[in-house]
Every structure is written in C-alpha cells, then in structure tokens.
Symmetry: C2
Subunit: 398 residues, 2 copies
Amino acid sequence: MSLTTVKDALDIILNNTQDFGTEIIDFEKSLGRVLKENIVADRDFPPFNRVSMDGIAINSEAFKNGQTCFKIEGIQAAGDAQKTLKDSNNCLEAMTGAVLPKNTDAVVQYELLKIENGIATLQTDAIKDFQNIHKKGLDRKQGDILIKQNTKISAAEIGVFATVGKTQVKVAKQPKVMIISTGNELVEVAEKPADFQIRRSNVFTLVAHLNNLNIDAKTAHIQDDKEILIQKIETYLNEFDVLLFSGAVSKGKLDFIPEVLNNLGVKKLFHRVKQRPGKPFWFGKKGTKTVFAFPGNPVSTYVSCLKYFYPWHQKSVGLNLENENKAILAEDFYFKPDLTYFLQVTLKNIEGKLMAIPVSGKGSGDLANLVDADAFLELPDDKSNFTKGEIFPIITYR
Amino acid sequence: MSLTTVKDALDIILNNTQDFGTEIIDFEKSLGRVLKENIVADRDFPPFNRVSMDGIAINSEAFKNGQTCFKIEGIQAAGDAQKTLKDSNNCLEAMTGAVLPKNTDAVVQYELLKIENGIATLQTDAIKDFQNIHKKGLDRKQGDILIKQNTKISAAEIGVFATVGKTQVKVAKQPKVMIISTGNELVEVAEKPADFQIRRSNVFTLVAHLNNLNIDAKTAHIQDDKEILIQKIETYLNEFDVLLFSGAVSKGKLDFIPEVLNNLGVKKLFHRVKQRPGKPFWFGKKGTKTVFAFPGNPVSTYVSCLKYFYPWHQKSVGLNLENENKAILAEDFYFKPDLTYFLQVTLKNIEGKLMAIPVSGKGSGDLANLVDADAFLELPDDKSNFTKGEIFPIITYR
C-alpha cells in the first residue's frame, strides 16, 4: 500500500476544514477565542482633548505675550466635566486623563513649574502649542475598525472590547470533539494494571492539546470488539463534529478502526503517511463529520495532533495559518528511512535565533521522553544526513 | 526624584518573590500549572517486553536452524495475558502492544511474511534477536524520576501522570490577586460614558494577562477619595496576597496611591522607573503582601505586567526563569530620551530568526495599537540610535 506524503496529507486535511458557525459570549471569557465580527470605535479615541501630563493648563497666547506667572483658578481633574479658564492670563491645574479645559491649549508639567501662594511660575522658556495634550481622535476616529474579524483574542483585544463597551462578542463556535481510545490492554488511570496491561494516557494528552485550543473535548474508551465499535462510533458520529481516535489503525488482527469506519460510511481520504512516528495515520470524512484516526503509540498520537489537527482547527475557525515557524538544527543528525521524521528537540533562543537541539529517545512508545523536549523538528523525507545549521519547520508544544 | 533603572527594578522585584505553598488537584486540570513533586515510574517502561510491530513472534533458534515456514499456533493480542509458544518451530501471531509470548524472542512484521493455510512463510533473510520488541525497562526503570518538580505542566506531563496512575498531583498554589482600578473618569464597560469619561479597560487586560498564568484574579474599582481608598485597600491587603493597581501613581493632585499605601504600612521598594511607557510604576511590600502599582495609561499597565509581574510570578511558583528571549530589530529606530523603551513590534520567524518589526503608535494611551503588535522589544536606556540587525530582549504576548 503506497504512503501519502506529509505534504499531501496536510493538503487533504486543509481542503476538508469545516465552518462551525458563531456564538455570542461575554468579552471577559473570550481570551484565546477567534473573533467573528469587526470591532468598531464607538467614538473618537481619545474621545476628548486629553491631558497627558499632570501640571497646569494655560492659554499659550499669554505665554507668547511674555507672561511666565499664572494665577491658579482651580483644578480640572480626570472625571470632571470640562471647565473653562475664565481669565486667559490665569491657569487651571489639570490632571492626566482630564479633559483639556476650555480657553486653554497647552499643559506645562509640574516638573517645569514652581508653585507658591497659588501662583505657578514657569521654569522653562519653550512652550509648544498643544503640548502634553493627546488630541481628540488622534489614535482612532469614530467608526474606524479597531479589530478585524478572524483575529485570535489576546489581552490586547480584551482591553479594546472593554474600551468600546462590547460586553459581548461574537466568536467562532468550537467543534464538538470526541476522543476515543481503543485497545484491550488499556485500563483506567485509577486502576492498577496487570502485568500485560497499561493505563490509558493518549486520550488525556489529546484532551490537553485541545484545551490549548480552548476546546473542551469528551473522551471514551471502546474495547476491541467490532460490533461494539460499530454501534458506539455510529452514535458518536451523530453526536459530535469530530472524532479523534488513538490506536487500532495499523495491520494488527484487532485493528478494526479503518474497517469499522468504512462500514459506517466514513470515506477514507488517506491511510498511512510517509512519516515517523505516526505512519498508520488514517483520515476520513462523512458529510460534515471529520475523523482523525491516529496511531496508538504515544508519540505518534502526540505529534500527529499538533501537525494535523491544529492547522485543521485553525483554518476551520478562520485563522490565517501562521507563517510556518522554523528552527535551526544545532547538531548533525542522521535518519535513514525514506520518511519525514519528527525529531524531538529542545528549543533555545540564542541571540534571536531558534536553535533546535536533538533529544535522544527510545522511539514512538517513549512517552516520558516528550517531557524532556519542547518541540519537533520536521526533517524532510528526501535525505538522510541533516547538517548542523540547516533550517527546518518546527512544531512547538510548550 | 531619581529614577530606578529597569534592571534594578526587576532585581528588587525578584528579590521579593513569595512561596504560596502547594495544593493537590486532579491531573486532568493541571495543564499550565507548576508541578511540586517528583513523578516517579511506578514500574518499568515498557512494563513488559512489548511487541512493537504486528506480525509473528518466533523463537529465533528455529530461524538460525534454517527454518523459514512457521505454523501459527494462535494469537497474542494486546491486553491478553502472556501466552506460551508451545512448539519452538511454530509461531504465534503477535500484535503491537501485546506482551511478547514466552519461548519467543523476535517478531517478524506482516510486511515480510506470506501467510497461507495457517502457515507463515518468511520473505526475508535476516532476523535480529529481539527485533520489533520494545524491551521491558528500556525507556525507564521502576523508581526513575520521570518528571522533576518545578516543571510547568504541558500535554506531555499530563500523559505521564496518566501512565503512572497519578490521578492527583501536587502543584504550586496560586497567589490570591486583586486588581484595582482608580480614577473618577472611569465608568463600567456596560455604561455609556459622558463626554469627559472613558470605560474601565486596564483591569480586564490585567485579568487576561493573569488568566494566561492560570490565575483567577478579582477586580474592584475605587473612586479617588483618600478615606475610601484607605479603608478598601486595607481590607484587600488582608484578604489577598497581591494587589495590582492601575493608575493614580504619578504627580497628579488625586494620585493618592503612593501616599495611601505608605499610610497603610506598605513599604515602598521603588517608585518611578527609567522606562517608557510606565515611568511612574510603584512597587512595595508589607509583610508577605506584595503591591504592584502600575501607571494608568493602557500600554504602561500592559507592558509592566508582562515585564515585572510575570517573572515575579514565575519565580514565586518555582519556575526557572527562562533564558531571556531575544529578537532582531528589522528596521533602524531612533529614540532619544534617556529611558529604556518598550518598542511595540510584530514578530516574524524568518528562517529560524525572530525579526522584530516596529509598529508605529501614538504613545502609551493608544490601547488599540496593541492589537496591531505581538510583542515589545526592550531597547536599552544608554543609546538613541538602534540599528537594523541589532539584538534585544523581547517580551511577547501572543
């Protein structure tokens, strides 16, 4: 059976993304979600000529006429309605964040003043028009688009939502995802396994991977029994948008997943990818339902989710797929098979360069080894000798 | 009043970190937290000689004696108790993840077999001892430390917890944080501000920044009234470990925070830092209570939290402070004042190099500008001309 290249596999997956619609949520809960509306300035920013230093507001004509001492008429504090300087030869103390008082056009900061007996005396020879004033509408005009839709929401966007009064925002709805383990050798985390058993772990790493995308996935375990598999998977296909499997996609006698999915009408789009780890990866679709069936080895499942599910999700919710990140191989490395190799590495930022240092592991079963690494360097399938200093795509997970 | 340098300010902050103890939580909820115990292998990994390819398990003596056809005695599936190959000249089919059957020491994968009428015939001339067998204890030995304490928990660690049966894990307890805005010009997000008012936004960006550290912070607003400030802040100092303020730390007539904190016995460790934005930043401590009083301009608060609170928190919970990340300035830049400048930039990974491209903004009041950037490049205070290609520390927020 011929293998699909990594590039073709990813292309097929990205040609099968899915729009899951939108929902309205509280802006305070929107961190990490993808915005699905343009956010528009509800008024000018700043909304008024805003004092940007603490000091006195004056009418600069008085200064131009040679005046250096100003009687203080009062205070314009932040949060006060706009006051008026009554006598152009006087001044008002004005605080950062306050509206610039009427009949004034410059603010002189306290650092350049001496104040005694209600008189402020300038300690400077130069005053510019509108100095220390953040002019109305300078940053943004009412009606300007402040945030475009399809932006991933960070703390910065949350601040803008608050500023324009968007208590609720429209975001991309998340797919409903079911993560399914199979394999009679697996027992629950709380159980003590017999000598020939191991605990379930892949579903939990997948849940964590999806948590990082703000998806709350469900999990299930199904024994290696074809009838039960058919019955349960049929139910899950009805209830969920995406099924992620871990295991039972290779050549074993009990590797029923491809057959069962086929029986249920899920169309195989590829099976077996020219990569290590994760060669037996199966991907298919039934109507609007998408099935990623990852191989059961822990490292295979782990890297395949990052390499394939992540970009599928990003494109599905409307994000531009980020520019491919790359890193620089820090040591010579040799890998003979004619497969794309996902090399486990630690990443170091050395003077602005991302250096990828190989971590030696014991193969795709060695889950503990993932703890010692930060990322996978994607080494192409068309060569065996990889030389220190060469640059390859990097998939990070910390 | 003399300014504290950015380096001294950070040193003082890092000399005033705080251990908040530990707590036990479900492993499934531990993503992003900091582990506070060593995680030890409860048995060898793999826990048995594990078949790593689907195929047949044979006794290699038979092969060495020239045998190439093996009668299939049965199947050793994953999850079966260990079987025994009865006749050394026969074989057992053996599945990935299964225990290696007794009386066998090599697995030949299906790809190298022809199976007809219950007889498997080898299509290969070479069989190595223990081929396709992941030997018991090869990855890790019982009692080995798999994860060291003070590790930040990613999906990889979650998988290891599951594997060793750690349903609950000990993690660093988070500080209780109260985020307080002041300023009579501020109204709630849901309100329509008058011409001279603006909505509260800094507390929400701070909440989001802290969410990224897995801290659920509370928020409050206090009017610019010295008596009310004293009364409320006293209560918060009793109830919380950390107070974050935004605003009222500069030279304005209503900038009561430094005075109020002093009255309440919070010891000032510095006030005013040689930086832009964020010069009026005030930091102090009272017993085990820590107070970060950031300036009220949105960009000042935003960058100060990332530059100062983040490393304070990381050291407090026991993380090694990561190697300082750096990026490469992509365009010449000029900044005259004798201050460390936090330049807003977008980051691009170009062939493994992190390039920082300046984003022109309108100063520290321009919150919307944060939306157009990804990071701050920290330009030192001892020069004014920054040249394309020079390397500086980078603070990212996406």
